[in-house]
């Protein structure tokens, strides 16, 4: 059962040994029994479990500790969760790629099983009985033959004196004995959230803290030419302005530079900011205009590109002169628009740097802040608050660096508060993308040759200014292309970045899956076939697909299982009453499916398009197979939320630039789905399996735009090849 994760277990299970520089001792470290970095048990029975991944609504702060608690046989009511600071001893804390459960399920189980074995051994010694006769109950060790029992608290001190077990000695519970894994659970922070006690980034307040609002260069790479701050300094509460140096390329996670207004409170900082007059030197990115760039990108997508996967002979098949179908799709830049805009607090005192950040990646913050301060990273302590959404934006620690830079200059704690306008205008945007698809069709309308090509400025440009080709954006479902087609080629066209680019929930699948799953629907209608039946035919019979495209080998442990893919599509369709349910006037159903983050997901979207062209989404049925389900109730919640997120992308998500500056600024010109625009009801069906758990944060997002678009076609006969829908008349 222990796979990849087991290799690094040794590191986690030698408390005190691997820690290079302990920055903050947690209650788990200080507990009487501290068998590994994730756990501490006090003599009163309190169990401290470390949440080392960030919580932004993803649920891992609840789910991972429950996995540990399960193997420990701990009473969940006696568990206290402690949020970790950034510290390499925990392994990766980079909370992205829907990877928390996938990467740490086995490690958490082993952490729990290891501690439980030590408690059993401690009891066996005390009672002078063989450890094999001892077993655990809820928070206790029992010896059935003599009817003795001892609590975990009572055993904590004795257990702490025992050696950490070898991993081959660990015994794991059978699935049938799981207490928490696979059982519905509420979020650990539920009550705190509902009562306003939960602490997010902006809720951190320190003694002597000042507030900063930063005027940043509107064009990426811009520099301050001159700044007039006299009027700003007259605003009550404004203390001073501070110049922040521009970055040295690549921009990576460095601050954009600009002028910070320092004040006694957030409002004064905002007001002062309105009064400063900065003249910018914009640089070459001022030539970036979205209208023009779109034309160039579409042109690139029509030209041969870098071949990343090639099977059979696509060109020969196209040259035969049979039926050919081609289509182009386009998705603009998207902004994350996390409910909580970026915010960070820093306190830089000589060599000790402390930051409080709603970050998805505290280790990265440590490193980036350390670099900016010219200090070793061990001098930086990064506390992680709750995140008011993340969506990938908070993987980038630029705002934490801003706070640290200012705190160092001012010699006092600083909170940098981003306004919503800052958030929308200075994001790490999802790349704009053009996708070109071409198929040669047999008499039944099934492709005999398939060419898919996408062009987008790569996210890697953030770290490598010369990058023009996609990297891992091409991995996963784009390169897998799990079709039963003999001739298949996948290409990538080059494109230059002119704004900061980054990951956004479901990342490249947002444009790739929109294009491919729309195209499949188009092909089905072209052939006069049912889209579901056509989709299943395209995938072919249930089987394991062993793909090995050059440069992109599949990840071990997660074989591409066409049977599971078919099952979610069939389940979503069946639950939605596909082909059976009577739909009202102006209603239509559309389907889309994919494997993403090793999770199989399919959604059937029902739309209603009124005579006036208004769009409503009465219902979505989503089936998801994420392998072993840790918290099924929360998987449902994630997929409900994914449906709304996907709806926002489809309906209104569009970021554009004029002369290098972003045109949008707040929810009035970057609208996101409100209760009236969101799906009225999303039904989620969780297919449990014994496969290793996979991710649930992202996969459900990117099936929504194509399923929605396909439903609009079913309802109106109108085909949408370019998002957002707000650009189209639907009636």
């Amino acid at each position: 059962m222990l796979s990849g994760g087991a290799l690094v277990l040794g590191a986690y299970f030698s408390p005190g040994v691997v820690r290079a520089a302990p920055t903050v001792d947690t209650p788990a470290d200080r507990a009487a029994f501290h068998p590994n970095v994730f756990l501490g048990i006090e003599t009163d029975g309190t169990v401290y479990i470390i949440a080392h991944r960030s919580e932004m609504g993803n649920g891992s702060r609840t789910a991972l500790p429950r996995v540990l608690a399960d193997e420990l046989d701990a009473d969940w009511n006696r568990v206290r969760i402690v949020q970790a600071v950034g510290d390499p001893r925990y392994g990766s804390q980079d909370t992205d790629a829907s990877a928390s459960i996938r990467e740490f399920f086995e490690i958490m189980r082993a952490a729990g099983a290891s501690a439980r074995l030590m408690l059993l051994r401690a009891a066996a010694v005390q009672w002078s009985v063989p450890v094999s006769e001892c077993g655990s109950g809820l928070h206790v060790v029992r010896h059935a033959p003599t009817d003795r029992q001892s609590t975990y608290g009572d055993l904590a001190s004795a257990a702490s004196r025992l050696p950490v077990p070898k991993k081959e000695d660990l015994q794991f519970k059978p699935r049938s004995a799981w207490r928490y894994i696979g059982k519905d659970a509420s979020l650990y922070d539920l009550e705190d959230i509902c009562t306003g006690k939960a602490q997010y980034g902006n809720d951190v307040r320190l003694e002597g803290m000042v507030y900063a609002s930063i005027e940043r260069p509107p064009v990426l790479g811009g520099k301050v030419k001159s700044c007039q701050d006299q009027e700003a300094l007259r605003v009550p509460g404004v203390r001073q302005t501070v110049l922040i140096e521009p970055f040295k390329p690549p921009h990576a996670l460095q601050p954009l530079g600009g002028v910070a207004v320092i004040a006694d409170n957030t409002w004064a900082a905002f007001q002062g900011r309105k009064k400063i007059k900065v003249v910018w030197e914009n640089g070459p990115n001022a030539a970036y205009n979205s209208d023009q760039f779109k034309k160039e990108l579409q042109q690139t997508a029509r030209q041969p590109g870098l071949v990343v996967r090639n099977e059979g002979d696509v060109d020969a098949e196209f040259a035969k002169g049979g039926k050919i179908f081609e289509a182009e799709y386009y998705l603009p830049h998207l902004a994350h628009a996390t409910m909580e805009p970026p915010v960070a607090v820093a306190d830089v005192r000589d060599a000790q740097i402390t930051v409080w950040v709603p970050t998805q990646n505290p280790q990265s913050v440590q490193e980036t802040v350390a670099q900016a301060m010219g200090m070793p990273k061990e001098n930086v302590t990064c506390h992680v608050t709750l995140l008011g959404d993340g969506f990938g934006r908070k993987s980038f620690g630029d705002f934490a660096v801003e706070a640290a830079v200012l705190s160092k200059k001012l010699g006092q704690p600083v909170k940098v508060v981003w306004s919503r306008e800052d958030d929308i205008k200075f994001d790490y945007y999802l790349p704009v993308a053009a996708v070109y698809l071409k198929a040669a069709l047999n008499s039944g309308g099934k492709p005999t040759a398939w060419l898919q090509r996408s062009a987008f400025p790569p996210i890697n440009s953030t770290f490598d200014a010369t990058a023009i080709h996609g990297g891992w954006e091409l991995k996963g479902n784009w390169i897998e292309a799990p079709y039963d087609i003999p001739n298949l080629r996948i290409e990538n066209g080059p494109a230059q970045a002119h704004v900061r680019l980054g990951w956004l929930r479901a990342v490249a699948s947002n444009y790739h899956t929109f294009a491919v799953q729309s195209f499949v629907d188009e092909l089905a209608h072209h052939a006069g076939r049912d889209p579901l039946e056509y989709l299943l035919d395209l995938w072919g019979p249930p089987r394991i697909l062993n793909l090995n495209p050059p440069h992109y080998p599949p990840e071990p442990g997660h074989p591409l299982d066409i049977g599971r893919l078919r099952r979610v599509a069939e389940m979503a369709a069946e639950k939605a009453g596909w082909g059976k349910r009577r739909l009202g006037q102006g209603h239509g159903l559309g389907i889309a499916a994919q494997r993403y983050s090793f999770t199989y997901v399919a959604s059937v979207v029902e739309v209603e398009v009124t005579d006036k062209g208004e769009l409503r989404i009465p219902r979505i049925d989503t089936a998801v197979d994420a392998g072993t389900a840790i918290n099924p109730a929360y998987i449902k919640a994630q997929l409900e939320g994914a449906a709304v997120f996907g709806t926002s992308i489809a309906r209104s998500g569009e970021i554009t630039a004029t002369n290098g500056a972003i045109d949008q600024s707040n929810f009035y010109d970057y609208p996101v789905a409100r209760i009236t625009e969101a799906p009225y009801q999303t039904n989620v069906y969780v297919l449990d399996s014994e496969a290793p758990p996979s991710g649930v944060g992202e996969p459900g997002v990117s099936v929504i735009p194509p399923a929605l678009s396909n439903a609009i076609f079913a309802a109106t006969g109108k085909r949408i090849r370019e998002l957002p829908l707000s650009k189209h008349r639907l009636q």
């Binding site: 209650p27 307040r205 004064a268 409910m339 909580e340 709750l386 919503r420 306008e421 707040n666 789905a673």
Partner: protein
Amino acid sequence: MADWAIAHSWGIRLLKGGSALVRAEGGDLMIQVKVNGVERSFHGDREMPLLWYLRDVLGLTGTKFACGMALCGACTVHRDGEAIRSCVVPVRDVAGAEITTIEGIAEKGLHPVQKAWMEFNVPQCGYCQAGQIMQAIALLRSKARPSDQDIDELMSGNICRCGTYQRIRAAIKAAAKGAS
């Protein structure tokens, strides 16, 4: 269960509210306002939105900042029982009023709407939920048994980026049922 465990590890004392972070020279007249039942006097910039008075001056951080333009509802509080967007209401407009925030909404224990929120596991990241709850409580005061249309109308000013809308709808209906 309620303690946010990170607090244990914070080496620096956190301000618990009441700090005089606002300089007095900006304001001339003192403003009296009752917040969660406590009489307060405000001496600062009278144009400061209530949101920042609550958060930065009083330390009541349950009310959230998200858009600054009354577009998203995250900052919703009650003025004399009615929902307002505290990010655009200057302190001068609440002189003499009674302000209630998420911290003060329950007279004892949890408000029935908070209970409904927990029963339906509404929150994901949770950042907007204080505003959603405050808006929902105000909604139920004006519509004891709200229809879907009422909910659409009165909750559409509150954005949730996690997409918890269907649970918000269900929780409001359940709270309405429980109250009648």
